[in-house]
Symmetry: C2
Subunit: 226 residues, 2 copies
Amino acid sequence: MRVENKLYKNQGIHVISSIFTIENGIVKVLLVKRRNEPFKDYWALVGGALYNNESIEDGIKREIFEKSGLEDVKLHEVGVFDELGRTPTINMRMIAVTYLGLVDSSKVQIIKENINTKDVAWFNIKSVPNLAFGHNEILNKALEKLKDLIVLSDILKALLPNEFTMPELQKIYEGILDKTFDRRNFRKKILSLNIVDDTNKEVSINGKKPSKLYKFKDKIEIKKVF
Amino acid sequence: MRVENKLYKNQGIHVISSIFTIENGIVKVLLVKRRNEPFKDYWALVGGALYNNESIEDGIKREIFEKSGLEDVKLHEVGVFDELGRTPTINMRMIAVTYLGLVDSSKVQIIKENINTKDVAWFNIKSVPNLAFGHNEILNKALEKLKDLIVLSDILKALLPNEFTMPELQKIYEGILDKTFDRRNFRKKILSLNIVDDTNKEVSINGKKPSKLYKFKDKIEIKKVF
DNA sequence: ACAAAAGTGTTCTTAATACACCCATGT
DNA sequence: ACATGGGTGTATTAAGAACACTTTTGT
């Protein structure tokens, strides 16, 4: 590689993440509202340009912290997107390296505003608006990746609050995988994996018959759920 | 993003591919021998720096063609590698975007030499030397990805010659997945997928009892084999 | 009392696994 | 004739799918 070759110059790297959580049995993604042009007032995924002195994961974590105040997010690689000619105001060629992150929303406090963003909020993945920079495509790929990941027991544990009910858990699976399960078979399957304990507590989620509360065992093996 | 910020400058993108084929039932990867420093005379995966006016896939295909003469390779994304401080002679920060490619070796003619490479050859994936630029790590991830892909019937079709025998097919699976299968159950499984036809021909691979030759149906559904 | 969601067991079906003998070829 | 690898079928086991009634709570 000859560094002086013009074809090698003016390139940069965006790091972009789709941060997911579960709130009340609903899968949500973290979006930020842009303060400036381009795409002023549009919502976007969390991200920005990578510095040349930081690793990709460090850059991802820095952007997440700067834009949302979140720390200690578990990250998984999603993919690379070509941004040849996509960023209107920059005359650099960029590529986007994208990750997904999983957080337990009960443990985080998002920061609503900073220098670049007017607002930060969790959006139900079933009702995401048109995003800046064509980020919907990136989010869709992250959701596909989430489908692959969610069948692993340790991923569930990263995403869920400490205690949960079987109907809640089932709704999460059904929401992410876009299919339905038989109530009895679902419970049987989860219990057979030996990854949860019965807390002997019950909670009434919706004013109907109360559901049993379960929690993950401290140490669980990584197993395929489905 | 402020383009003038020094932290955004001096970054570049490598595109690197692990090209796989099957020869005589053995899974092989395409390596090139470097003509110049750094890592002169080391073998490396196929790749190089991405131009700022081409898409990632175009860059991958250009590098594959320049270094090996191969065209029309089916590509699959593998992952991104951070090259912060890894390329010794360049004072740019690079990242490596890596793909894997699948070719039917009976259909390609590799070009052995060009301006950057002294030699190009297929290596058994079980006996790959120490590669330039730490490419072994990239190859390992590509092999992991290949494990995920090979269970899909259409990937097999891209990789295999037109006609093949069951023992050949089984050896390929066993080589990639690193496990063994019962001969009878393996054949039963493949035939039950309804993706191959019996050609009514036989061939003697190793001077023992001849094996039946099978071929893929023209149109096959994408199914999970295992 | 009734509507709404939760809890519970058994049967059936399908897929995966285990296993042994005969056959065609080259030496 | 023998050594090597290829072809074939059945029985067992495990996993997944299908399915109905009773219980608790709020209104």
